[in-house]
Amino acid sequence: MQELNINGSSVAVDVDPATPLLWVIREQLGLTGSKYGCGIGVCGACTVHVDGRAVRACSLPVAAVTAGQAIVTIEGLSTNGDHPVQRAWDDLDVPQCGYCQPGMIMSVVALLADNPTPSDADIDAAVTNICRCGTFNRVRRGIHLAAERLRDGGA
């Protein structure tokens, strides 16, 4: 059994320690917001936070995460889907198919926590998620909008 802290709760999972965190989250814990896209750390669809840092969960064995580390998934980002980044995404209709968007949003939230006033170049460097539908223009607008709102007091 391994202890994990996910979205503020402690859970014990009985799983092969080599299992990637993504599949523990999706299949053991039933949190399917984090997606499988490539399994090799390239696409970002599986992005979650570990201690506030964006991590590609498909490439992180569950054994590498300790019970003391806080894992946050898209489901744990806000109570009512109203994190400023989620609200900006809502307001701008950012998603198309939406499959990449939980990972995209988790990457963006980590970026803004690190850098509340990202330039376009900062965004280019930090957000490397693939979106085959091609939502990038709106993603960029969404990041600036969310950043602005966060600066104005998280409104």
Binding site: G33, K35, Y36, E75, L77, T79, P95, G98, V127, C131
Partner: protein
């Protein structure tokens, strides 16, 4: 940061609960064995398209699939426009293909491709909305004891105009549902549209930003097992044997099953366990007849086609040989376009439950009826005992018009009767077994007269036919007319130029790599061939590329309109920023006229795409903000293809296996796209695909302007643009 308590819902039945929240019903249900099909799906339904609840909730049924393109919202707008309902009360649901079969295809086609979602169903869905409105008005008039003609419907309320008395739709819906439908209907004049043409927000956004949206890969059914599959990587190869004993005792493994004579699947408690065991499974393949096929052998086959005597003619005018022979100047060039993979973000998947009495499949599909047909065939059961439950797609782009993964899921589930099995393809399996963008080459020859006017144009296309592989019945005397997309004399895919002497033909050469419809289909390569070559001709003529095109477009006012619009917005003819160069492209496809102007720079051999101005005239624009989103996205698709999207073949198999070798653009490479939506009215053109076609040629022409170098083979990959 807010944290929500974790709910351990692993074995929960998730599909019924996820839809709420956003007022969006997925219409998914677990059919009970005792359910008997009755004709109407709901006693409250006004007709197949509309159900109104007593609380005024409007349920609009959507036959086409939502894969990100916004069709769900657009189709609901069309129905709601005529229904005169309160848009804020609108929810949607998908009828199943099985219900469509039982009800004599009352919802028409479920096929979602070819940018047809809106344009080929707009008429009957608007009629459905109008007929439902007439029933509601009639029922209200009866209730009020007044003449129908004195009543008006608006915002889900029927008002008797002279008295001002009114009834809500929800109050009369029960009566309305019992009335006989009127036998004729008049649709609104487009000038009176209130909802069509408005940039309303999508109905399906919120669940996609919270992670609540359930995709096929996320589905959980009670008692469900998971499967990962591997088919012979060599096209046409078969499964010889596998050593089940080596994986039988691995954690979670429940079964190792043969799927036809081509594939083997591992079924386990979790997908990770299934896939891990599959990767460990020793498999022996019979590579079949194609193991020597390579990119080089395919290129040789296509090159031979460029010189072949026999070819299917797609467009002919005047006497091209004479015109070329008499031309003051001749220009000739060869272009090539590679295989490409759809690479939907969500890999192929389907969940099937098979018993001796019934088979149900839950899957993302672009063609529910074809998926149902595949289920019926694979299940070995009568059609009335099978159904398909559609789930929103994590991308489609044409790939999910095919049902190979549905067939596989059923064939696996058949070997575990009563147990639902979710089959997910690994990304590697997904890339090895695509329905690839067809591979083609072209030789183009143009003749200019002494004044630099184009007097003759000869285009020989050589390469793969999608129709020959997937719907040979659609060939016309052996010819695949879809290969001439954007080059035909007339219709939805007509050439945008008038050339007095013209011959465009196709030497069909079909390598053994399965082709499919790939967002844009054949316009992707044809627009590159034509638009880059026209640029070459303009250069040879010493004429500005915009002026050169305009001279050929006198008889094509709508195409000229979009071209002029991008030229003007981009500032064609005025200096760009230092080091920045422009390129143009225009075409008509899927019934719409599109053009793009790209601005690029090339520094130290590296390309930077700064800006794209793109114009679309789709006739009627249902939701301009969604059209903008489609246009923006189409450039990511088209430019990713141009930059990286090549599948190469070695040993009869595709060499790219994942997003590391089959790359896709990221935000850092994304130019600002300025979409001009300029609907001129009077026709319904598609929007999901057309602008992909102008993405690559506009950029390639700008690269030429910047470097003097013509790129005639794609993808660009890491081409050093310094080397001329």
């Amino acid at each position: 940061m807010e944290r929500v308590p974790l709910t351990l819902s692993r074995r929960d039945f998730v599909i019924g609960t996820t839809a709420a929240g956003v007022g969006l019903s997925l219409g998914l249900y677990l059919p009970s064995a005792s359910a008997t099909p009755e004709m109407a799906d709901d006693t409250r339904e006004l007709n197949a398209w509309v159900v109104i609840e007593p609380d005024d909730t409007v349920i609009i049924r959507i036959a086409r699939s939502e894969m990100g393109q916004g069709t769900l919202t657009g189709l609901a707008q069309l129905v709601a426009e005529e229904l005169e309902c309160d848009w804020s009360k609108v929810t949607t649901e998908y009828p199943t293909p099985g219900r469509n079969r039982i009800r004599d295809r009352v919802w028409g086609s479920f096929s979602t491709g070819g940018s047809r979602g809106i344009r080929s169903s707009q008429q009957y869905v608007r009629e459905g909305g109008a007929l439902a409105r007439m029933l509601l008005v009639g029922a209200a008039a009866d209730r009020l004891g007044v003449a129908e003609a004195e009543c008006r419907a608006a915002d889900s309320v029927v008002t008797h105009v002279p008295s001002g008395r009114s009834l809500r739709y929800g109050e009369v819906a029960g009566d309305a549902a019992k009335r006989a439908p009127p036998d004729s209907v008049t649709l609104k004049d487009p000038r009176d549209w209130k909802l069509i043409g408005r940039p309303v927000k999508r109905l399906d956004t919120h669940a996609k930003v919270t992670g609540e949206q359930v995709y096929g890969t996320d589905l959980t059914l009670p008692g469900m097992l998971n499967a990962s599959i591997r088919a012979c990587p060599v096209f046409g190869g078969t499964l010889k044997s596998f050593d089940e004993a080596r994986v039988r005792d691995m954690p979670g493994v429940r079964a190792v099953v043969r799927v036809d004579d081509t594939a083997v699947a591992v079924v386990a408690d979790t997908w990770w366990q299934a896939d891990t065991a599959l990767r460990a499974l020793p498999v022996v393949w019979d590579q079949g007849p194609n193991s020597a096929v390579s990119s080089a052998s395919i290129a040789a086959l296509l090159r031979e086609g460029l010189d072949a005597h026999d070819a299917f003619v797609g467009n002919r005018a005047g006497d091209v040989d004479a015109a070329l022979a008499g031309a003051a100047k001749r220009v000739e060039a060869e272009y090539a376009y590679p295989f490409q993979h759809h690479a939907t973000m969500e890999p192929m998947n389907a969940t099937a439950r098979w018993t001796h009495e019934r088979c149900d499949v839950w899957c993302p599909t672009q063609n529910g009826e074809a998926a149902l047909q595949a289920v019926v065939e694979a299940a070995g059961l009568p059609a009335g005992q099978c159904d398909v439950h559609k789930i929103d797609l994590g991308g489609g782009f044409g790939r999910r018009g095919f049902s190979d993964y549905v067939t596989q899921a059923v064939k696996i589930a058949r070997q575990l009767p009563g147990t639902p099995v979710k089959l997910i393809w690994s990304r590697e399996e997904d890339m090895r077994h695509g329905a690839y963008h067809p591979i083609t080459r072209a030789r183009l020859t143009g003749g200019l007269d002494a004044d630099g006017r184009l007097v003759g144009l000869r285009i020989r296309l050589s390469g793969q036919s999608i129709l020959a592989a997937v719907m040979p019945g659609a060939l016309k005397d052996g010819a695949d007319m879809v290969t001439f997309q954007g080059m035909l004399p007339d219709g939805d895919h007509a050439i945008s130029y008038s050339v007095p002497n013209l011959l465009i033909d196709h030497a069909m050469r079909n390598p053994p790599v399965p082709p499919g419809f790939w967002r844009g289909v054949n316009i992707n390569q044809n627009a590159i061939y034509l638009e880059c070559f026209v640029d070459e001709l303009a250069h040879a003529a010493g004429t500005d590329p915009l002026a050169f095109r305009r001279a050929l477009m006198v008889g094509h006012p709508r195409s000229l309109g979009v071209l002029n619009a991008v030229a003007e917005r981009a500032g064609w003819g005025t200096p760009a920023a230092a080091g920045v160069f422009r390129g143009l492209a225009v075409c008509k496809t899927f019934g719409s006229h599109v053009a793009a102007c790209a601005e690029v720079s090339v520094r130290d051999g590296r390309l930077k795409i700064h800006r794209i101005v793109a114009a679309t005239d789709c006739g009627y624009a249902v939701n301009p903000q969604q059209i903008e989103a489609q246009v923006e996205g189409s450039f990511v698709f088209g430019l990713s293809a141009m930059l990286y999207g090549g599948c190469t073949v070695a040993g009869g198999a595709v060499e790219q296996h994942n997003f590391d070798t089959y790359r896709s653009m990221t935000i850092a490479e994304m130019p600002q796209v300025e979409a001009i939506v300029m609907p001129s009215g009077g026709f319904w053109g598609g929007v999901g695909e057309p602008t992909i076609a102008v993405a690559a040629p506009a950029v390639l022409n700008a690269i030429f302007a910047a470097t003097g170098r013509r790129i005639r083979e794609l993808p660009l990959r890491d081409t050093d643009l310094r080397v001329a």
